[in-house]
Amino acid sequence: MITLLYLAAGALFILGLRGLGSPRTARRGNLLAAVGMLLAIVVTVADIIDEPGVVWWTIIAGLVVGGGIGAYLALRVQMVAMPQLVAAFNGFGGGASALVASAEVVATDGAFSTETAVTVALSIAIGVVTLSGSFVAYAKLQGLITGRPIGLPGGPWFNAALGGIAVGVGIWAVVSGDPIAYWVLAGVTFILGITAVIAIGGADMPVVISLLNSLSGVAAAMAGFVITNQALIIGGALVGAAGLILTIQMSEAMNRSLAHVLFAGFGTDGGPAIDAGDKPVNRASADDVAISLAYAQTVMVVPGYGLAVAQAQHAVRELANALEARGITVEYAIHPVAGRMPGHMNVLLAEADVPYDLLLDLDHSNPKLPNTDVALVVGANDVVNPSARDDSSSPIYGMPILEVDLARTAVVLKRSLSPGFAGIDNPLFYKETTMMLFSDAKAGLEAVLAALEEL
């Protein structure tokens, strides 16, 4: 019977994970998974409540202390610090799995069947790597240690060697059944977790955390084998597999291969070239832009010379059509000198059959921009440069601009941070409310459209 209830919890996890994959259902998904977890905990407690000799204080103390710390951290932390928090939580999870297996080692003094011994060793090894690796990731993101990859003596071979040692110790533990061997294994893998993650750059940390998350699932599943509990096996296997897929998707979204991320030290990998010196930009993917657009009520398209260069007039119209089909109001703000000739944008948008009454000139669009949810700047630069308004030393000071910096969100689609005709930098790109989508305008708009249709 209890197995069936665990199965129900597992089913809730599945539905939860599935829900988390789409913006519409993500919150509900998280809730379902949480309910599943509650079910599993209640079932377990109910199952042991009548057993004799249960040590309750450890359970209650653990639940209270852990719950308090978890809730405090989760509710207090700032939005930007969330990824590192996830890393920390994940480390605790991995550690818990390792502890469960360790407790079994203590309880049985290492007397396992071979197959169980293998799972014990795996629980401990994977759990501990997750623990130490996650905390290094946390420290990197939190700025406690440098975000730059830290070189190891011997480079990547160091970790390879350490991995080899861990395997050897694991075999020793399984074969000998000696508890000491398990503790040595824990020690070696603890170091391995640190050295493996410390060698990876801060920018790749999200991918690393996702991979560690997948590993903590595997650790939980292994622990399930150790204590013969199907809830752990189902939940752990689920997370292990789902986490792996997610890790691959994340590295694809960042244009990295997973191998590159993990073994960066083996080769040299320049990474995406765009970087604004020290000034940080919010770099968005087509998916991110699609979501911002999908959840907007009003969108203002601001076309510029880049739209013309990319010949993206048809693409922009299609995207606008798709947004309109979702009930979103789309208008176009046409700056008097956008492009390279008077009426440049008009020619292009007329070709794409954009109705004239959606084209707003400066006087009509600027009053609307502060109430616009998303200003979608397509290949425009100088005509949306706030310096012209704010910085009297700017060569373009005094030129009227489209004030997209006042919109709730500005999405800027261009290929790089290069300047436009006037050859000057644009503070808009570094604003908090600005998302930069680096791409050719046509390709970028098409990607956004494709992403939108998948929402």
């Binding site: 996890f13 994970l17 988390l20 994959g21 519409r24 993500a26 919150r27 998280n30 998974a33 977890m37 377990t44 042991i48 057993e51 040590v55 450890t58 359970i59 103390a61 653990g62 639940l63 202390v65 852990g66 710390i69 951290l73 989760a74 509710l75 932390v77 969330m82 928090l85 939580f89 999870g93 550690g95 818990a96 502890l99 469960v100 407790a103 203590v106 999200p206 998350n213 699932g217 939980a220 622990a223 399930g224 084998f225 204590i227 096996i233 939940g235 689920l238 997370v239 789902a242 986490g243 897929i245 997610l246 998707q249 994340m250 979204a253 991110d288 979501i291 009930g327 998948e454 929402l455």
Partner: protein, 98 residues
């Protein structure tokens, strides 16, 4: 290999298949929340921790059990709460055109 262990493998493989299939193409904005949610689910190890803690004999076992429960609970509680916070942005529904 015990029958139980083999059953475990069957369940593991099937659950892993579900895990692979359940994640279809996820928009990048959901990568972190999904990761966080999955991470919370991996806190299922709390079930093991409860059992370990409940039946641990001796001080060492008790401490290990206590730590296991604490760690796992942090993961579970913190994980689900933080995921929910991340997902707040999806609350707003697009309104109809005025």
């Amino acid at each position: 290999m015990s029958e139980e262990f083999i059953q475990g493998i069957v369940v593991f493989v099937l659950a892993a298949f579900v895990g692979f299939e359940v994640i279809s193409k996820v928009p990048a904005t959901l990568h972190t929340p999904l990761m966080s949610g999955a991470n919370a689910i991996s806190g299922i190890t709390i079930v093991g921790a409860l059992i370990a803690a409940g039946f641990g004999e001796g001080t060492v076992a008790a401490i290990l059990g206590f730590l296991a429960v604490t760690f796992a609970t942090i993961n579970v509680v913190g994980g689900f709460l933080v995921t929910d916070r991340m997902l707040e942005m999806f609350k707003r529904k697009p309104a109809k055109r005025e």
